[in-house]
């Protein structure tokens, strides 16, 4: 660090601040629209939701200003302290006697109720940055990796204990940062494969091929496993150039022939044949591993076997581990159960509201679908409905694009950091925004499961707005201290 530093105001990224201000202002108008249901608008009255939100926005701007004025090094210095304090707060709230709507995650201080979970994200990001900035840190070292996972999992578990599963899932966004910092892509690859296997397996598990024997779900997943193993061998094991072609040919061709045979000659369960093919692939890869002593073969074997075990255990997990309401949510989302009156009610109402917006929307305060209780949580988790209804496709597209611009800008800022601390923290911040955007908007559009997390800067509530403001402005402050 040099001693000649420019003024904060000269170095700070005004692009991000501008995006932030635009988003917050749009957010306030949305809260006005969502909470308004009276003839005469009275948005500046402190007793209304809009008035309160305005007050919190004011506080947030103050907070942002203060953060920019503070010394940038305090975050690095006190990262562990901040992290520790928030862990204690989270731990404390588990025993909190005050319940707000069945949740104990709120700390009530006189007129203000705060949710420590909203601030714990910031603290965790700082702690991760500090730890990963250590000179000896190496992503590949098991000890370091376990410590990193510990830093992420500790607050996550505490939040799950408060029954705020939605807020806890946000911590998964840190894996984006870990990926950038060199976590092997295999982790993300396995994660995505797991999700695909889970969805395909469940969605089509009960649908049977014309031969009356084979389940579409099982068939598709096993086909995917064979094709992916061929792809992986082709990508990572170049010693035997014909091998991927053989796997592809024997696996794919065998499956195809088997299917035809089963459908037109003698019906049998094609999946059994596929399992035999998988077994053959494993044995073949094992042979090449022993011969060539190249680890990649072993990994691919693990992938094939792991995928199989995972797939056949999802049924069990789905039926025995998940809570009934979570099961129903997933079934409705996958279109297995049409239940617009029950579990699908929220999402259907929100789709009607958005759909009724059309190209240009009904105009500010003219939305009616989102008024009152037809769309639940319409000024918190489902606020995007109001935007969709009142501002139409144009307004919604602008809002989503603004978020995209913010996240892309944050990638640029993170990449120009001079310390690993700054970059790690930056990726954590953008990961969190991305996750919130993905889950929240996806939920309202009926694309992701209903998980109760707010849309940053839009959802009504002081804790979440302050939490996101702190998250962002601390990063801006760190960024403003760079030398170039």
């Amino acid at each position: 660090m040099g001693f000649t530093r420019g003024s904060v105001w000269k170095n700070v990224d005004w692009w991000t601040i501008a995006l932030y201000l635009v988003l917050v202002i749009c957010g306030w108008f949305s809260v006005c629209g969502a909470s308004y249901d009276y003839g005469e608008p009275n948005f500046f009255d402190i007793t209304t939701r809009a008035g309160k939100q305005l007050m919190w926005i004011g506080c947030s701007l103050g907070l942002g200003f203060v953060i920019l004025m503070l010394e940038d090094r305090i975050y690095d210095t006190y990262a562990y302290l901040i992290y520790g304090v928030l862990l204690l707060l989270l731990f404390g709230t588990i025993f909190n006697p005050h319940e707000i709507k069945g949740s104990r995650s709120w700390i009530v201080l006189g007129p203000v109720s705060l949710q420590p979970a909203e601030f714990a994200k910031f603290a965790t990001a700082l702690a991760l940055g500090k730890y990963m900035n250590e000179y000896t840190f190496q992503m590949q070292r098991t000890r370091n990796l376990i410590a990193v996972l510990g830093i992420i999992l500790l607050p996550m578990i505490l939040i799950i204990l408060q029954k705020e599963t939605g807020s806890a899932l946000v911590y998964l966004s840190f894996f984006l940062m870990l990926y950038r910092e060199g976590m092997t892509g295999a982790v993300l690859f396995s994660g995505i494969c797991a999700v695909i296997f889970f969805i395909v397996g469940l969605r089509f598990g009960a649908e049977i091929m014309p031969d009356d024997m084979t389940s579409w779900g099982e068939f598709s997943v096993l086909t995917l496993i064979i094709l992916l193993s061929a792809f992986l061998v082709g990508r990572f094991c170049r010693q035997v150039p014909q091998l991927p072609i053989y796997i592809f040919g024997i696996g794919g061709g065998g499956t195809l022939l088997g299917t035809l045979f089963s459908n037109y000659v003698i019906p049998f369960n094609v999946c059994h044949l596929q399992l035999i093919i998988c077994g053959a692939i494993v044995i073949a890869l094992l042979y090449f591993y022993l011969k060539e002593q190249i680890r990649e073969y072993l990994y691919i074997i693990l992938f094939v076997i792991g995928s199989g075990i995972f797939f056949f255990s999802t049924d069990y997990v789905f039926n025995h581990v998940l809570e009934p309401h979570q099961k129903i949510r997933i079934e409705v989302l996958l279109g297995m159960k049409d239940d617009p009156a029950g579990a699908g009610y929220n999402v259907n109402q929100s789709k009607i509201a958005i759909g009724s917006g059309g190209l240009f929307g009904k105009g500010f305060l003219n939305g009616t679908q989102t008024k009152l209780k037809y769309v639940p949580e319409q000024d918190t988790d489902f606020i995007f409905c109001t935007i969709g209804e009142e501002q139409g496709f144009v307004g919604s597209a602008v809002v989503i694009s603004l978020f995209m611009a913010l996240i892309l800008r944050l990638i640029v800022l993170s990449e120009r950091q001079e310390t690993r601390f700054g970059r790690v923290y930056g990726y954590c911040v953008l990961g969190i925004f991305f996750f919130h955007l993905f889950i929240n908007v996806g939920m309202v559009l009926g694309l992701t499961p209903v998980i109760g997390i707010p849309l940053p800067f839009f959802s009504y509530g002081g804790s979440s707005l302050w939490g996101f403001t702190i998250l962002l402005f601390v990063f801006l402050r760190i960024d403003a201290a760079r030398e170039k």
Binding site: I354, G355, G357, L408, R420
Partner: protein, 616 residues
């Protein structure tokens, strides 16, 4: 910092993922908002009218399947303020038989968000509630003249019997705080306010449905949107079967007419409450319809406090009925055996302390002591227990042991009956006396708790439960008034046996004492020729005239009913408690009263106690 260009490339993967997700969202928005015909119809939001469909509330039966509470049709008038055009107020007022001032105030109140927090000019707001079918019929004919007004069918509660008001409870429009506590409710909804209507609200209410109707540009209803695909069908509330015997309840209320008191009867083997009388009571039919508010206020201001459910909210000194619990405790702790005799010469006299007693042979053993309700015997028992230093070490430990026995019998804490507002009564512990007497006290100081006086108080329900525990010889099942919820198991609390700290064998001895009391002791009036009744009187001293109490059960072997009677200022236990107890037992076990007992019942019904309250 060294740069790893291989890893830096990953920023493109991440940025790519963000762009792809955002693109997916945009495509989804495009299909929802612009491509889809289904949602395009919604562009004009006035096309929709969302009407709430109310489920029918569960009905209530007694234990013999007699219908107690059912639903009757009533009509609400609702209004959508934005749709009112050219309202002819005079015509409206005439049709609905309301004054123009009332109309003006009503509109003002609807718009006032402090009174009506869920107000919106676009949705149905409650205008008038619970109109009869006739009144509504007149309005229905003229409905076309009043755009914006709607009729909504609702049900109101009706009661078959004028009895059991405290148990059945009632329903009323939700208050603001109800809506804040549970966002299921919106203005105009009904919620259970008292009795089982309140404690089983969630089961009784069912679940509201929503019907989405399509309207044309003029507001005429065209039918259900997408053939009702998005409608939510209401789920009817669950029916309740009470453990109450409504005829027994009626007899109890009749016997306590003009008196303040309670009768509680429990089936010992199940903990089911057979009757729960609190006098004075009121007619549940008063609490229905548009006059509920007015009638409720009158009852709330009544100096006799008819709204108070004394059976579970009144806390009284149990008097001598409490002696049975003392005998059990002393026996279990080895302070006495059945052979132990104590002297009683006109009472308990020791170191200048005197607790009076009536005349009976002295000294005497436990069974005659229970039969004659000897004060001296139980005072000695407590004195020896509290003073047993080699056993307990200190008076504090001795008293806390005593307290543990009492709590195990269900005293000092609410039993957990399925009715709102149950009181806990009071059982003192050592620290209470340490504070009151600055640490210097002994068995003599607190002697009156042994005969159910002093600091000890119980609810009539707890006294009846004591009877049930003795009848069961050592355990009880938490008393409850609901026997069955349709299609739902009962809380396991109401089937679990709760054992006391006393052995079964000691209970047999107390049962013998209670039987002796009926055969030749203080409860002779409770004797029935062909049923073995066991009983214990109580005469509780207090500031005014003594309270008259009785606790008993029958038959002695295989008991079917345990009962507590408590009549405020009724004098000796034998005056009111015993005969009322006997009549109730007879009624329940035989199904009806004999002819001379019917005369006795009418005689007791007509007796009055002067409480110095005259405005009734």
């Amino acid at each position: 910092m060294e740069r790893n260009y291989d890893l830096e490339k990953r920023k493109y993967v991440i940025a790519g993922a963000v762009v792809v997700i955002v693109l997916i969202f945009l495509i989804r928005l495009l299909t929802l908002q612009i491509m889809s015909e289904d949602y395009k119809k919604n562009a004009d939001s006035n096309a929709f009218l969302k009407r709430i469909q109310y489920p029918s509330r569960g009905v209530i039966y007694d234990r013999n399947d007699k219908l107690l509470v059912y639903n009757q049709a009533a009509y609400d008038i609702t209004v959508i303020m934005k749709e009112i055009t050219e309202l002819d107020t005079t015509d409206l007022c005439q049709t609905l038989k309301i004054t123009p001032e009332f109309l003006r105030k009503k509109f003002h109140d609807i718009k006032d968000r402090r009174l009506n927090p869920g107000y919106s000019p676009y949705t149905n707001q409650v205008f008038l509630t619970q109109l009869s079918a006739e009144d509504c019929g007149v309005f229905q004919e003229k409905l076309f003249k009043f755009p914006g007004f709607y009729i909504q069918r609702r049900t109101i509660r009706q009661y078959t019997y004028n009895a059991g008001a405290h148990i059945l409870g009632d329903i009323a429009e939700v208050s603001k705080s109800d809506m804040e506590k549970d966002d299921y409710y919106i203005p105009g909804d009904f919620i259970g306010k008292l009795g089982v209507e309140r404690s089983y609200e969630k089961q009784l209410r069912g679940e509201k449905g929503i019907e989405i109707l399509l309207r044309d540009a003029r507001g005429r209803i065209q039918g259900n949107y997408m053939d009702g695909k998005f409608d939510k069908v209401p789920v009817a509330g669950k029916n309740l079967r009470l453990s109450l015997d409504i005829e027994l309840q009626q007899l109890g209320e009749r016997l306590l007419e003009g008196k303040i008191g309670s009768i509680v009867a429990i089936e010992p083997s199940t903990g089911e409450v057979l009757c729960l009388v609190s006098s004075p009571s009121y007619d549940p039919r008063q609490m229905v319809g548009r006059n509920r508010g007015k009638n409720h206020l009158i009852l709330a201001r009544d100096p006799w406090k008819p709204l108070l459910n004394r059976a579970i909210m009144g806390t009284y000194p149990p008097g001598s009925t409490f002696k049975t619990s003392q005998a059990l405790t002393y026996l279990q702790e080895g302070i006495i055996t059945t052979g132990t005799s104590y002297p009683c010469n006109g009472g308990f006299n020791f170191r200048g302390l005197h607790v009076g007693c009536h005349s009976h042979p002295s000294p005497l053993q436990l069974i005659p002591a229970i039969a004659t309700s000897c004060n001296g015997y139980f005072c000695w028992g407590l004195y020896h227990m509290i003073g047993a230093r080699q056993k307990y070490g200190s008076v504090q430990k001795a008293l806390n042991t005593w307290r543990d026995y009492m709590v195990s019998m269900g005293f000092g804490y609410p039993l957990g009956i399925d009715l709102p507002g149950e009181k806990r009564g009071y059982i003192p512990n050592a620290s209470v006396y340490d504070k009151a007497y600055h640490g210097s006290w002994n068995g003599l100081t607190i002697i009156s708790i042994s005969i159910g006086q002093g600091e000890v108080t119980l609810t009539p329900l707890q006294i009846a439960n004591l009877g049930a525990t003795i009848a069961n010889r050592g355990y009880f099942i938490t008393p409850h008034v609901v026997k069955e919820v349709e299609g739902e198991p009962l809380d396991t609390l109401y089937s679990k046996k709760r054992y006391t700290m006393v052995d079964r064998s000691h209970y047999e001895e107390v049962v013998q004492g209670m039987r002796a009391a009926v055969l030749g002791g203080t409860c002779r009036g409770a004797n029935l020729p062909d049923i073995e009744v066991c009983g214990k009187t109580g005469t509780a001293q207090n500031r005014g005239k003594d309270h008259s109490a009785f606790m008993g059960f029958a038959p002695m072997k295989d008991p079917k009913i345990a009962i507590a009677v408590y009549v405020e200022n009724g004098g000796f236990g034998a005056v009111y408690g015993v005969p009322i107890g006997r009549l109730m037992i007879e009624k329940y076990l035989k199904g009806k009263l004999s002819e001379e007992d019917e005369t006795l019942a009418t005689e007791i019904q007509n007796r009055r106690i002067d409480y110095g309250i005259h405005e009734r």
